[in-house]
C-alpha cells in the first residue's frame, strides 16, 4: 500500500466487551458486547460520522480507539502504529496526537481548576514548551475557538454551556493533535448555540487539517459535517457509505427506519414513517443471526439464523440479507427504492414469512431475542 493511500486511522474487527460479574467471588457470568467487531478507516483530513441510538456502542467505540477503555480484540492502527500494542510511555506520545471532546461540557471540565490549569495540564504532561511558550499556545488555542485570552484566569462555572464546549475544544487543540474523537459534542447545547459550535468545528478542521470521528445521534448534523457515515446497531456497523450516498440511497432497513423517524420541519424532507416495533435488545444477549431481525419488518428465515456478511457496492457497505439480494438484482438506487417500498408496505417480504407491525408485536423483550412475532421459520 502506498503511503498516500494509507488511512490515518484503520480500525479492524474491534471488540470491546465488558464482563458481567456476580456473586461472592465476582465470577464472570456474561459479557456486554458493547462493541462487537467493527471495521472502518478514516483518511487524513476527512470526517467519519458514527450514528446510532443509545446503547448501540458508538461512545464505547470512540473511547476504545483512544484506549480510554481497553478493547478486548481487534486492531486500531493510527498513523501506521498499532495503538493496542503501545506500552504506556509510547501510548502517551500517541495520545497527544489523538484527542477527545466529550458531550457534557459541565462534567468534562474540573470545576476546581482554572481554564489555564485545565489547558496547561496536557502541555505539561507532554512537555510542550517552557512557561512562555505554553502561555502562547494556550492563548492561541482559545482565540481559535473564539474565546478571549482573559478566559485563562477564570473558572468553568463562569461560562455558559456553549462557551464551556469551546474551552473543551481549546483544551483538545492546544496539544496540536491530528485526530479528534468528538463524542456528541453539541447534544447538550441549546439549539441556537449548536450551529455556532458546528461552524467552529468545521473551521478548525479546515485550518488545522484535522481528522474527525464525529459520534452523534443527530442525523442532520452528521450529514452536514461528515464525509462518510457509519450506522451502528447493537455493537455492529450495519451500513457504511459516503454521506451523500447514504442519505440519498440508504440500504439497510434500520437506516431507513432511523432516517424516517427524525421529525422534520420541512414537509418535503419528511419520509414516510417506519415505526419499528419494540426496543433495542440488550447487548449482553444479542439476537442470533442478524441482530436487527427481531425489529425488522423485512426479516426472513435466513435473518434469524445467519449473521449477514458485508455486501460492498462502490464505497457503500451493508450487512443485510435482503439488501444483498436486491443489490444482486439491480443497482444501489433501485435496491434502496425497493427496500423503501417494501418497508412502506408494512413488511412482508416476497416469501411472506414474517410480518411484524402494529400493536400485537409492540414489545420485543430483551430476554427473548428470537421473539419475532408470529413468524414461522
Amino acid at each position: 500500500m502506498s503511503d498516500a493511500a494509507a488511512p490515518l486511522l484503520a480500525v479492524s474487527d474491534l471488540e470491546t466487551h465488558f464482563p458481567i460479574r456476580r456473586g461472592l467471588f465476582r465470577r464472570v457470568v456474561g459479557q456486554v458486547r458493547a462493541v462487537d467487531g467493527i471495521s472502518f478507516t478514516i483518511q487524513r483530513g476527512r470526517t467519519l460520522g458514527l450514528v446510532g441510538e443509545s446503547g448501540c456502542g458508538k461512545t464505547t467505540a470512540g473511547r476504545s480507539i483512544l484506549r480510554l477503555v481497553e478493547p478486548t480484540a481487534g486492531s486500531v492502527r493510527f498513523a501506521g502504529r498499532e495503538v493496542r500494542a503501545e506500552r504506556p510511555a509510547t501510548l502517551r506520545s500517541l495520545r497527544r496526537r489523538m484527542q477527545i471532546v466529550f458531550q457534557d461540557p459541565y462534567g468534562s471540565l474540573n470545576p476546581r481548576m482554572t481554564v489555564r490549569a485545565l489547558l496547561e495540564e496536557g502541555l505539561l504532561v507532554h512537555r510542550m514548551g517552557d512557561s512562555r511558550e505554553r502561555l502562547r499556545r494556550m492563548t492561541a488555542a482559545l482565540e481559535r475557538t473564539g474565546m478571549p485570552a482573559a478566559t485563562l484566569a477564570r473558572y468553568p462555572h463562569e461560562f455558559s454551556g456553549g462557551q464551556r464546549q469551546r474551552i473543551a475544544i481549546a483544551r483538545a487543540v492546544v496539544l496540536e493533535p491530528e485526530f479528534l474523537v468528538l463524542d456528541e459534542p453539541i447534544s447538550a447545547l441549546d439549539v441556537s448555540i449548536q450551529a455556532q459550535v458546528v461552524n467552529l468545528l468545521v473551521e478548525l478542521r479546515r485550518e488545522l487539517g484535522l481528522t474527525y470521528l464525529f459520534v452523534s445521534h443527530d442525523l442532520s448534523v452528521v450529514e452536514y459535517i461528515s464525509d462518510d457515515v457509519a450506522v451502528m446497531y447493537l455493537g455492529r456497523l450495519v451500513e457504511t457509505a459516503p454521506a451523500a450516498d447514504l442519505y440519498a440511497r440508504p440500504l439497510h432497513p434500520y437506516t431507513h427506519a432511523l432516517f424516517s423517524a427524525v421529525p422534520s420541519v420541512e414537509a418535503e424532507r419528511r419520509r414516510r414513517r417506519i415505526i419499528l416495533p419494540g426496543d433495542v435488545p440488550s447487548p449482553a444477549r444479542p439476537p442470533a443471526g442478524c441482530r436487527f431481525h427481531p425489529r425488522c419488518p423485512l426479516a426472513e428465515a435466513v435473518c434469524r439464523e445467519v449473521d449477514p456478511p458485508a455486501t460492498v457496492v462502490g464505497g457503500h457497505r451493508v450487512h443485510c440479507h435482503v439488501a444483498a439480494r436486491e443489490l444482486s438484482a439491480g443497482d444501489a438506487a433501485a435496491a434502496s427504492a425497493r427496500i423503501a417500498s417494501l418497508l412502506a408496505a408494512g413488511g412482508g417480504p416476497p416469501d411472506g414469512t414474517a410480518k411484524l407491525r402494529g400493536d400485537a408485536a409492540e414489545e420485543v423483550s430483551p430476554s427473548s431475542p428470537s421473539g419475532s412475532g408470529k413468524a414461522t421459520p
Binding site: E53, S54, G146, M147, P148, S160, G162, Q163, R166, D190, V191, S192, I193, Q194, A195, Q196, V198, N199, V202, E203, H217, L219, S220, V221, E223, Y224, I225, A257, L258, S260, A261, V262, P263, S264, V265, E266, R269, R270, R273, I275, L276, D279, V280, D359, A360, A361, E362, E363, S365, P366
Partner: protein, 340 residues
C-alpha cells in the same frame, strides 16, 4: 371558550441575588382536542409556564400576576390562587402531566401496578380490584405488550420507552381534558420517540384530549402540533397555527432558529446560519426587545429601549417585534454579541 386560557402570567423567583422573572407576561390558549406546542431554549420559561398551570411552582418561585382559566363543564375557574385541596383534584384529574425523564415520575421501589392503580384510586373511589382492572386497561391503551406481566414488574425492569408509556398511562388514569407533556421524548431515542409521538397523537384523537407539548425540537412541533407558541427570555415572541409559522416565520428569532438547521446546507464549505451570542438567563434579560442583542435586524433606538407588543400581523399570527413583516436588510450585529 378555550379549554385553557393563560392571561398575562408572571411567575418570578425571589433569590438572594434578586427577583428573577422566569415567566414575564405570557398569554396562551388551548382549544379542546388540539395540540399546542410551546417551543424555546433553556431558561426561556417554558417549563415554569407548565409548572404554573399545575400549581407546582416551588418556593422561592411565586405566581405574581395573571390568570389561568380552565373550562370545567362550561364554567371557567381560575387556577391561580385556588386552594391546594381543590388544585389537587384538578391536577391528575382534569390535567394530566408527563415529564422528560420517566424515572422522576416513577417510584423505583413500587411495582408498575402499584403506581398505576394509585393514580386511579387517588381520583376515583373504586375497589382495589376495579383499580387493577383499570390499570390493565390503561397499559393496553398505551400499547404495552403483555400488560399482566408488566403490572408486577418494577420500573428498572422496563426500557426507557416503556417507562414513558407507563407514565403516560398514569397521566391518562382519570381521562384528563388536558395533558401537559414537558419534553416527553427528549430522553428517548429517535425510533422510540417516533413510537411515543405516534401514541400521543392517537390518544389525543381517541380521547379528545388537548395536549400542551413543551419542547425545544422544531421538527417535533412541525409534525405533531396544531398551534405553536415560541418563547424567548420569559415571553411569547410568536404565536400562530403550525402551518403558518413554518411556512412564514415572522419573528427574527424564529427565522434564525429555522435557518440554523443543518438541513438548509449541503456542503460544509457553506457555514450554518448560526444565531450569534448567548441564550440570556432570567437574571439578566436585556432591556427593550429581549432578542435585540442577538438580532441581525435590530435598530436603534427602538429595539434597544422599547418593549415590542404582541401584535396580530396576519389573522391568527401574532408576533412580538417592532419591525416584523418589514425587517429590512440584516444590520451589522454588534461585535460583543458575536462571540458567544
Amino acid at each position: 371558550m378555550p379549554l385553557l386560557e393563560i392571561r398575562n402570567l408572571v411567575t418570578a423567583f425571589h433569590t438572594p441575588a434578586g427577583r428573577v422573572p422566569a415567566v414575564d407576561g405570557v398569554s396562551l390558549s388551548i382549544e379542546r382536542g388540539t395540540t399546542l406546542g410551546l417551543v424555546g431554549e433553556s431558561g426561556c420559561g417554558k417549563s415554569v409556564t407548565a409548572m404554573s398551570v399545575l400549581g407546582l411552582v416551588a418556593s422561592p418561585g411565586r405566581i405574581e400576576a395573571g390568570q389561568i382559566l380552565l373550562d370545567r363543564d362550561g364554567r371557567s375557574i381560575d387556577l391561580v390562587g385556588l386552594p391546594e385541596r381543590q388544585l389537587r383534584t384538578i391536577r391528575g384529574g382534569r390535567i394530566g402531566m408527563i415529564f422528560q425523564e420517566p424515572m422522576t415520575s416513577l417510584n423505583p421501589v413500587f411495582t408498575v401496578g402499584n403506581q398505576v392503580t394509585e393514580a386511579v384510586r387517588l381520583h376515583q373511589k373504586v375497589s382495589r380490584q376495579a383499580a387493577r382492572a383499570r390499570a390493565l386497561e390503561l397499559l393496553r391503551l398505551v400499547r404495552i405488550a403483555d400488560p399482566e406481566r408488566r403490572l408486577d414488574e418494577y420500573p428498572h425492569q422496563l426500557s426507557g420507552g416503556m417507562r414513558q408509556r407507563v407514565v403516560i398511562a398514569m397521566a391518562l388514569a382519570c381521562e384528563p381534558d388536558l395533558l401537559i407533556a414537558d419534553e416527553p421524548t427528549t430522553a428517548l431515542d429517535v425510533t422510540i420517540q417516533a413510537q411515543v409521538l405516534e401514541l400521543l397523537a392517537d390518544l389525543r384523537q381517541r380521547l379528545g384530549m388537548a395536549i400542551l407539548l413543551i419542547t425545544h425540537d422544531l421538527g417535533v412541533v412541525a409534525e405533531t402540533c396544531d398551534e405553536v407558541a415560541v418563547m424567548y427570555a420569559g415571553r411569547i415572541v410568536e404565536r400562530a397555527a403550525a402551518a403558518s409559522l413554518f411556512a412564514r416565520p415572522l419573528h427574527p428569532y424564529t427565522i434564525g432558529l429555522l435557518a440554523a438547521r443543518p438541513e438548509h446546507r449541503r456542503a460544509a464549505a457553506d457555514p450554518l446560519a448560526a444565531i450569534p451570542g448567548m441564550v440570556p438567563q432570567p437574571r439578566d434579560f436585556p432591556a427593550g426587545c429581549r432578542f435585540h442583542p442577538r438580532c441581525p435586524f435590530a435598530r436603534e433606538p427602538r429595539c434597544t429601549a422599547e418593549l415590542p407588543s404582541l401584535r396580530e400581523l396576519e389573522p391568527g399570527h401574532l408576533v412580538r417585534c417592532h419591525y416584523a413583516g418589514d425587517l429590512g436588510d440584516p444590520a451589522t450585529v454588534p461585535a460583543e454579541a458575536r462571540a458567544e
